[in-house]
């Protein structure tokens, strides 16, 4: 398996809930619970789910922006969680992240040139002399003009700021980029520009992406494989076409049917889930989805289903995977 770039095994991340005068830990928010997946070179894995399902936490824990509670992340044969701080520092250029909000993720006091060049100097990727040339080269690749180099982030629109964010990640020749909702804050016409840019860069450099998004149509466009998360766990993962055409988990089915399609001819049998997502601090027993599941039976509230292979690498965690759910 030499082409596997990233292997995540049983990743766990709990956030403590502090309470009382002494600020003792009174409970845990189980943001991520036993998440496992692997990512090949040049592949894009889409991670979808609703807000609060832990998808961003997965991305950040892999990069050790949060320290994990348990589990293992193997990147190119190295166990990331066992590295010392200095060793981690030298691995960082290989693993980069693009954030959702291009407004708050760029330092407003630095010019574009400094923003992109900062990391290059820090990691010794180029000398001060070559810096400007290299920065301009990267900016050009991300569709920024050379006259932008001395401008500040507030002078740019959302789409262009996102290009700066991508340029920063790109500067260090990474192998793996976590894209945490990179297009959610953008308008449709700008969104497509950024998605195409990410696709072009992947073709050119062979990056692997972990593409985190709540937008199922964007994920379908950009990913090779897709994993669906619900309350901290992956409930289904498969190749893109398999997952979208033949979803097995009732949550995935509901999620897919809930997306409005921009075509008035399409009349859908919509599955409308009742209720809200339960709090991850106090998740339901058994299958975490059972409180909203339209085909829930007795066993679902008692026993947590395991993620099992339903054929051709289509993994699904449901006792009644594939059973049809009646549209309401």
């Amino acid at each position: 398996m030499s082409d596997t770039l990233l292997e995540v095994k049983d990743l766990k991340k709990y956030f403590p809930i502090k309470g009382g005068i002494l600020q003792r830990t009174v409970g845990h928010v189980k943001a991520v619970e036993n998440v496992s997946f692997s990512l090949k070179k040049g592949e894009t894995l889409g991670l979808v789910g609703e807000s609060g399902c832990g998808k961003s936490t997965v991305g950040r824990t892999i990069l050790r922006l949060h320290e994990s509670t348990g589990g293992q992340v193997v990147f190119n044969g190295t166990d990331v969680f066992k590295l010392k701080k200095s060793e981690m520092q030298s691995l960082r250029p290989k693993m980069q992240i693009v954030f959702q909000d291009p407004y708050s993720s760029l330092n407003p006091r630095l010019t574009v040139g400094d923003l992109i060049g900062e990391a290059l100097l820090e990691h010794g990727f180029c000398t001060k002399k070559d810096l400007k040339k290299r920065v301009l080269e990267i900016m050009n690749q991300c569709g920024l003009l050379s006259l932008h180099i001395d401008r500040y982030p507030h002078e740019f629109s959302g789409g262009q700021r996102q290009r700066i964010g991508i340029a920063r990640a790109l500067a260090l020749n990474p192998e793996f980029i976590v894209c945490d909702e990179p297009v959610s804050a953008l308008d449709v016409s700008i969104q497509s520009q950024i998605i195409n840019l990410l696709g072009d860069l992947q073709k050119q450099y062979g990056f692997s992406y972990l593409f985190i998004s709540h937008d199922l149509s964007v994920v379908r466009h950009i990913s090779h494989r897709v994993a669906v998360m619900y309350l901290g766990s992956i409930v289904e993962s498969a190749d893109k076409s398999e997952l979208y055409e033949n979803p097995l988990h009732p949550y995935t089915k509901a999620l897919l049917s809930a997306v409005p399609v921009a075509d008035p001819r399409v009349k859908k049998d919509r599955v409308i889930l009742t209720g809200d997502i339960p709090s991850p601090a106090n998740p339901p027993s058994g299958c975490r989805f059972h409180t909203r599941c339209p085909i829930c039976k007795d066993i679902c509230s008692q026993q947590q289903p395991e993620l099992k292979d339903a054929g051709n690498g289509h993994m699904v965690a449901c006792h009644f995977a594939g059973e049809s759910i009646s549209a309401t």
Binding site: E50, S51, S157, G159, Q160, D187, V188, S189, I190, Q191, S192, Q193, I195, N196, G199, H214, L216, S217, V218, R220, H221, S241, Y244, A254, L255, L256, S257, A258, V259, P260, V261, A262, D263, P264, R265, V266, R270, I272, L273, T274, D276, I277
Partner: protein, 325 residues
């Protein structure tokens, strides 16, 4: 003419800023029929929210409605005094906003906030208002209405808060509901619930809805009639089938093509080059011409008038039907 509930005629709303005059809404005209759902789409900054605020007369300094008429059953809302307008807002026209967190008052219980409008507009007593409020909370699909009546906004989830906003908007049986991005802050499964609810209450209360959104999918599902805005102007309007199945303005075509679709897979997305122009000192030409693939000489000379290409399908473009160069 009796089936027209609201007529907006040549509306102009400008903002007078230090940098210059921002023409946020620049000559917009359309009608809302009784029982119709109108979808207004456009990207950020195209003036769709300012237009809805203008209809409620909620534009504040430095903004001003400089020209136009807004006729609600033949009453011109622009000519009314603030006091007269207060009798209409929340009563005959009501609005739901995008952010259910910031549009509810955090220091009052939701029950208190719903009953307030009832006591003001319908002159109900406190007790009657409470009964009506509980009934409304049930109507918007919340179980345990008595308990929810006494809770504060922060105790509720985003979807629940949006339901409360809808309950508030419905409290005085409005004839027109303006929904400004009602589901943008919500997850898809919750969005589906809220859209479903809006469809139900529209039937039940027999009202018209103006739905403002940037999500083309939501519009195609909800609206009967669609208005596409760009840089403060309407560039295309027509029935939902006309606009989505036979889009005619290059911007509408581009917008529909650049959205990744659930039911089709393409290798590369279509993109509209460039970005939305700043609305200050716009030159006298088609505002979309800089980004348009069809742009020709005549486009640089004056903003095009709307042309009726089919019955009730209007497009503001001088090069309709011409091939892309």
């Amino acid at each position: 003419m009796s089936d027209k509930l609201l007529q907006v005629k040549n509306l102009h709303t400008y903002f007078y800023t230090d940098a210059g005059v921002v023409k946020a809404v620049n000559g917009v005209s359309f009608d809302v029929k009784k029982g119709q759902t109108i979808g207004i789409v456009g990207e950020s900054g195209c003036g769709k929210s300012v237009m809805s605020l203008s209809m409620m007369r909620l534009i504040q300094n430095p903004g001003k409605i400089v020209d136009g008429e807004i006729l609600l059953n033949d009453t011109d809302l622009i000519k009314l005094s603030q006091n007269e307008m207060r009798k209409i807002n929340g009563n005959r026209i009501s609005m739901i906003f995008q952010e259910p967190m910031t549009s509810l008052n955090p220091v009052f219980t939701v029950g208190n906030q719903i009953s307030e409008a009832l006591m003001l507009h319908e002159k109900l007593s406190k007790k009657e208002a409470k009964n009506k409020a509980v009934e409304l909370i049930t109507t918007v699909g919340i179980s345990r209405p008595e308990q929810i009546f006494n809770s504060y906004p922060h105790e509720l989830s985003g979807g629940m808060r949006q339901r409360i906003m809808i309950a508030m908007a419905l409290s005085c049986n409005p004839e027109l509901l303006i929904a400004d991005e009602p589901t943008t802050a919500l997850d898809v499964t919750i969005q589906a619930q809220i859209l479903d609810l809006l469809k139900d209450i529209k039937k039940k209360f027999d009202m018209s809805i103006i739905l403002i959104t940037h999500d083309l999918g939501v519009v195609s599902e909800m609206a009967d009639y669609v208005i596409v805005m760009y840089a403060g102007k309407i560039i295309e309007q027509g029935s939902v089938n006309d606009v989505f199945l036979n889009p005619t303005h290059p911007y509408t075509i581009g917008l529909l093509k650049s959205k990744p679709q659930m039911n089709t897979v393409s290798e590369r997305l279509y993109t509209i080059p460039g970005q939305v122009p700043v609305l200050i000192d716009l030159p006298d030409k088609c505002y979309f011409s800089d980004r348009c693939e069809k742009c020709g000489e005549e486009c640089k000379n004056g903003f095009p008038d709307a042309v009726e290409v089919e019955k009730d399908h209007f497009v503001a473009c001088k090069r309709i039907g011409e091939e892309i160069k």
